[in-house]
Symmetry: C2
Subunit: 336 residues, 2 copies
DNA sequence: CTGAAAGCGCTTACAG
DNA sequence: CTGAAAGCGCTTACAG
């Protein structure tokens, strides 16, 4: 690879001058500029970003910290948003490989050694020591779906509570009075916000909150089906079910149909996420659309703002969601 | 951030000595080593990988070039394998953000400027100019699912032909004689290999190859359904269908059921990929399992070998696949 | 308008 | 065993 020295020598100028044309400094004569650019072309010279970063104390890279696999649909779409926001930004995305074989491994040290300028974090439990290091550090950070703020750390999430309230309201307006809720694992803030949305949603409709109508699962198809099975065994099974993932919703639908009932004629089901599955598999799922792509985009926009502007305060963003009514919700039949 | 100079000063030694303990050189007295390590600890010193890379002319990063979105299940699982192979390897993964706003943007220049040491490529058409640059360059490259080799470039793919042959054979052994094939878009090498597998599979069973039994779709649910619709309109509709994606298979099943027929009693369907959907949605899909995760792992193992060993020849790897028999294939009923 | 020099944070012969 | 010096490929005051 040709270096700036090769170009300088070939063009008969100093490296300082080459650097100046590289960086569009005005104090270079047209003649010199042309000459240098010619040589650059001819030598296929490409400035070394790493060397430049060393002197400018920058790296033009942002990191991602993900504990959830890439195969998770949320992660996949989040990354798609992140990637899109990064195009033309001048920043590249780096996934830091953890080194579990090193007992002293620390995510934040890794960021430092790589000069990563900012990081997007998703799916890391609050208890993880890296989180604490991160929020007390001066490394710009955007958390996704975790309500953590720090010195230079903000977060972005969906309006989880409102989303579930909308689902409950939708079922109520269709005429449902027995509305159950299949929650994701309780603990993380989004699960709590959503549960609160269920309770508030019922209250808004003057419906009682019954613990027998609250089921918890891990967002999966199988546990969604299992939760539904328990609900169907109740003396008064629900006629409407609000789920916190599309997969759990599909599990519930599977179970409802296995019991000889129909969706939506006998039981209405609402999902959450509006993943690929919701639109493709049958019946098309009524679900909450999260703007995951947009969350990805904004997380990067905020991160870059935090990086490039020390006065930019860590933002807290709630992204709106919407109810997408498809084929799995309808007015309850009288038969049940 | 403390630098090596800070450590040297604090420990009362030269930077050369600090560097030596950092790199486990033997020619340092125990006493000095201890002292230096103490100071490192106390200053939370973290060597700057970028600076080290500048002198060693390395970056310990590998890049990925993907044109397919992260939401594609194959991509997601491939990345999961890549990520896994990278843990503890010392290499980090970089996704290079393209700069379409720069008319001179070139992927390979970007790699060079970032000092990326090797790259994994998936889903890029053969015609893309970056491909040509890449295979003629000395940048170690592993192509996934594209049969390209170059100076330092190898590839890895599934045994596509054999996979489809297995599917055909499976149906034949169940008693099917009317076996249709819903291909993915023809052109790319994997589609051609698979089509060859269909033809060869029929030949092995002494079945005729009928063009009316060949349908082409884009791997999606909707086009899979549309292709199936056409097959069902034939005078002699098939009793068995081999698809080249799980999604297309689910589309086909949807269409079969919409026609009042049952799977597998009336028509058997085989998918391809063994994605998440195949195991989760009902009926559980009989499909070809591609070891995508393993392809991800091996692509990185080969890439690192290419990087670290100039004598290592660019490999060509065919990863075995297997037929997973589930609920969508059975012996044909006589009624059809 | 141009370039010599110092420096970013490291490593590595080499001399002592 | 230790350290001064040169160098990796750049940028940026500063002097001329």
């Amino acid at each position: 690879m040709a270096s700036i020295h090769d170009v300088a020598k070939e063009a008969g100028v100093s490296v300082a001058t080459v650097s100046k044309v590289l960086n569009d400094y005005p104090d270079v004569s047209d003649k010199t500029r042309k000459k240098v650019n010619m040589v650059i072309e001819q030598l296929h010279y490409q400035p070394n970003v790493v060397a430049r970063g060393l002197v400018k104390k920058r790296s033009w890279t942002v990191g991602v910290l993900l504990t959830v696999p890439f195969t998770n649909p949320f992660v996949a779409e989040l990354l798609e948003g992140i990637k899109t926001a990064l195009e033309n930004s001048g920043y590249d995305l780096v996934r830091l490989s953890t080194r579990f074989d090193d007992p002293n491994y620390s995510f934040i040290k890794h960021c430092r050694s790589r000069n990563v300028e900012g990081v997007v974090v998703f799916g890391v439990e609050r208890e993880n020591p890296s989180i604490d290091e991160l929020i007390h550090s001066d490394i710009p950070t955007m958390f996704v779906d975790t309500d953590i703020v720090g010195k230079r750390a903000g977060y972005i999430t969906t309006d989880n509570q409102n989303a579930i309230q909308m689902s409950v309201k939708h079922l109520y307006e269709l005429g449902h009075h027995k509305i159950a809720y299949i929650s994701g694992t309780l603990g993380p803030s989004i699960a709590n916000m959503r549960l609160e949305g269920y309770r508030q949603g019922l209250k808004n409709c003057n419906l009682p909150y019954l613990t027998s109508y609250l089921e918890v699962c891990d967002y999966s198809f199988d546990e969604g089906a299992a939760a539904m099975r328990r609900l169907l065994q109740l003396k008064e099974p629900p006629t409407g079910v609000v789920c916190t993932s599309d997969l759990a919703a599909f599990g519930a639908i599977y179970e409802i149909e296995r019991h000889g009932l129909r969706v939506p004629e006998d039981v209405s089901v609402v999902g959450f996420d509006n993943t690929y599955h919701a639109q493709v598999f049958k019946p098309n799922l009524t679900t909450i659309n999260q703007n995951i792509f947009s969350i990805g985009i904004k997380s990067i926009e905020c991160l870059i703002a935090l990086i490039e502007n020390p006065d930019f305060s860590p933002p807290v963003i709630t992204e709106p969601s919407e109810l997408i009514v498809r084929q799995t919700t309808a007015s309850p039949s009288v038969s049940i």
